[in-house]
């Protein structure tokens, strides 16, 4: 594990201002989907039990083949749900954006075997846009922050981060400080 104070290729005098990741509600939403899917077999068993003459549990217990197939399918399903939920957590948790006094560092986990680390100098920022869309985003205060540089590269996007206006304000302040340092290096 890495320390919160560790950043890749830390420069002399560079200070960490803020670490942030996606809003908890994004993970909660996905978690609800998997939780709903986990309830699916229970609903199917209840449905089959209500609509048939023979109790589904009696039938499964009386036939060794059906019992073996039902148990294996059931356990494989729940193992899959568990590992999918954990993978989703890992992917969300390992997406971290770090603001330092000199740059923005983007660390993203895109699937289990694809990790992207990129950075952006604060002095090259031209424009910052904040977008809050939807009722939940407005109530729970999360949104997207787009950071545009002078270069014709694609924008840096912080997706579904908490307090996007606060983050954009910090970036603007750091941007001004960085430009000031660049214009007056001897001060």
């Amino acid at each position: 594990m890495i320390s919160r104070t560790h950043i890749p290729d830390q420069r002399e005098g560079e200070k960490i201002v803020l670490h942030f990741r996606r809003h908890w509600f994004i993970f909660f939403n996905l978690f609800l989907v998997y939780f709903g899917l986990s309830l699916l077999p229970v609903i199917v068993v209840i449905f089959l039990g209500v609509n048939n003459n023979v109790s589904i549990f009696d039938f499964i217990n009386n036939n060794e083949f059906v019992k073996a197939v039902a148990l294996v399918i059931g356990f494989v399903y729940y193992l899959a749900m568990l590992v999918f939920t954990f993978t989703m957590w890992t992917e969300n948790y390992l997406d971290v954006w770090t603001l330092t006094s000199e740059r923005i560092i983007n660390r993203e986990q895109k699937g289990l075997f694809n990790r992207v680390v990129s950075e952006l100098g604060l002095s090259s920022i031209q424009d910052i846009t904040v977008e809050q869309k939807g009722i939940f985003a407005t109530i729970l205060q999360y949104g997207d922050v787009y950071v545009q540089t002078a270069a014709e590269k694609e924008r840096f996007i912080f997706q579904k981060v908490p307090n996007p206006y606060h983050i954009s304000k910090i970036i603007q302040e750091l941007n001004e400080q960085a430009k000031h340092r660049q214009n007056y290096p001897n001060l």
């Binding site: 890495i2 320390s3 059906v66 294996v72 568990l82 954990f86 971290v96």
Partner: protein, 88 residues
Amino acid sequence: MALTLAIIYYVFLVAVFVFVLYSLFNIYHLLRFGFLSVTNVSIILFYIIVSSLLLYFAFSQLLTIDWSQPLMNFDGMLDFYKTFIPKI
């Protein structure tokens, strides 16, 4: 050589192997790239405990099955289809 129910058990073992492999990949990533924090350590421990309990429960249930029986028992198949006929 007759096919036994054990073939279903082997399918389950393959699924468990894939599950353990993916779990280890996830845990490796969290240990390698995650922050040293209470949340991270708690989630890893919680996952290990829950998955161990699920695997223990699964194996304890599967041990109650006689895996040496022939794969298909056609005597029970008619009853199986009858369960899907709705009660009128």
